[in-house]
Symmetry: C2
Subunit: 270 residues, 2 copies
């Protein structure tokens, strides 16, 4: 998906919501466990119920890998369902990969070619040659970790490197590797106050913002400090939507939560 | 596997070789393609041919994920084969994972519990709560990226943070999260001259050293600057061993390459 297509979807739906598909087998509605593939059944119903209110989906690979081979089968089915049923939604493999070039090329093959996600989250620690193999896949995106939503973000990301913080150096250096047409950055909603600083370095790039909802970040603050003229935001919610109910009405409740967020976004988009 | 067991294996075998199991489907000996599971057939014969000369095996997850579901089947079979046939070899899931705590816990489940690897490589960028879930699995290890073997290591890892480099800060901060009994560090062989500095910060920790062989690092330099009283090194070679021949004699040639490295290590262990 191109940047202009994404912006057009955001305008059309008045939403910049990304729904995180993180199926935790212990939290799945019990009635789904009798399905042949409970994880895919869960995702399929969640997608059907939320797709009118969001512009992106983000399966987190850890939740699938924890289930071994059957988890990969579910991930593959989910990716295929997204491609077929939601061709206008932006899809994100939340994988946080990154390795030497020859290895990153294999991860690019796994997630951007074979599973055909629009994008993958990548960790920056290993530098340019660990990121470029993902960028070299045509029409696909890298979403690079900049300033994450967790407490540990303070261990290294905010350390001073000269007069700047490490995450600022990550932004400054990596923006030369790609363009706002094929790179985004992860910035946690719990770091909303830093978004104004981040916008000085990357005014045009989209930001993927996790941490609203279960992690406690504020949507209003994110918009206030992070929105640009094209919106420039994808705000992710996972647990607050997909586990809104643990009963047979889980998809209905997920749809309602997604709709609430869409409406809040619509009013903030003004 | 405990630290003392690992040291005992190194002394017994006079080797600190780790063999990287990175099966690239395009490089597999052609005669294996008629096997039901060519990747596992490749790994099994490599393991049988090299196990007397090495103390560790390191499958890199990217090469399996690039093959989708069948790749995960091969990875699972390889992990099981290592557990059953090589209980005295240290096994490493070279996965370079790391995410918020709730997600890292899922990766720990995938690789340290279900696949039962002794250890997993982890990227440090997201800080303490992204690493601790791996350390909380009993008897398992985290191998944290410190200074990697690739060119991109110079983009962020060697940046000055105050009077120290970022990778030194990673070592100093993270050594408080675990102990030399459950943490190691990745330091590339191409960075051998830095090993003396690294040893000042982590004198007792084992170091996993990739980059000897195809990437051009020198074993002698690694030993000169990085060895400690317990050896403290696992030196990995992947491509130079597993692709020593592309014919039906691939395992024989891999065994010969592994033996050569073991003999060089024996003389360096002196």
């Amino acid at each position: 998906m191109t940047r202009s297509e994404l912006i057009s979807q955001i305008r059309k739906k008045k939403s910049f919501l990304c729904v995180g598909l993180d199926p935790d087998i212990e939290k799945l509605p019990r009635h789904l466990l009798k399905e042949e593939d409970p994880v895919f059944a869960f995702n399929k119903q969640l997608i059907d119920a939320t797709k009118d209110y969001c512009v992106a989906y983000k399966p987190n690979t850890a939740f699938y890998e924890a289930l071994g081979v059957s988890g990969w089968v579910s991930l593959q089915k989910t990716a295929q369902y997204l491609r077929e049923q939601c061709p206008h939604h932006f899809s994100i493999a939340d994988a946080k990969r990154g390795d030497i070039g020859n290895t990153s090329a294999r991860y690019a093959e796994a997630f951007l070619k074979n599973l055909d996600f629009d994008s993958i989250t990548v960790a920056p620690y290993m530098g340019e040659d660990s990121v470029v193999p993902f960028l070299s896949v045509p029409d696909k995106w890298v979403i690079l970790l900049a300033l994450t939503s967790n407490k540990g973000a303070g261990d290294f990301q905010t350390l001073p490197v000269g007069e700047k913080s490490l995450f600022t150096r990550v932004l400054e250096t990596s923006r030369r590797w790609g363009t706002p047409e094929n790179m985004m950055y992860v910035v946690g909603a719990t770091q909303a106050v830093m978004l104004s600083e981040i916008r000085k370095v990357v005014p045009d790039h989209f930001l993927l913002v996790p941490g609203v909802g279960a992690q406690g970040g504020s949507l209003e603050e994110v918009v206030k400090h992070g929105m640009n003229k094209d919106c420039g935001l994808l705000v992710n919610a996972s647990r607050s939507i997909i586990y809104a109910s643990s009963g047979t009405d889980f998809a209905l409740k997920a749809g309602e939560e997604a709709r609430k967020m869409q409406q809040e976004m619509e009013s903030l988009l003004g």
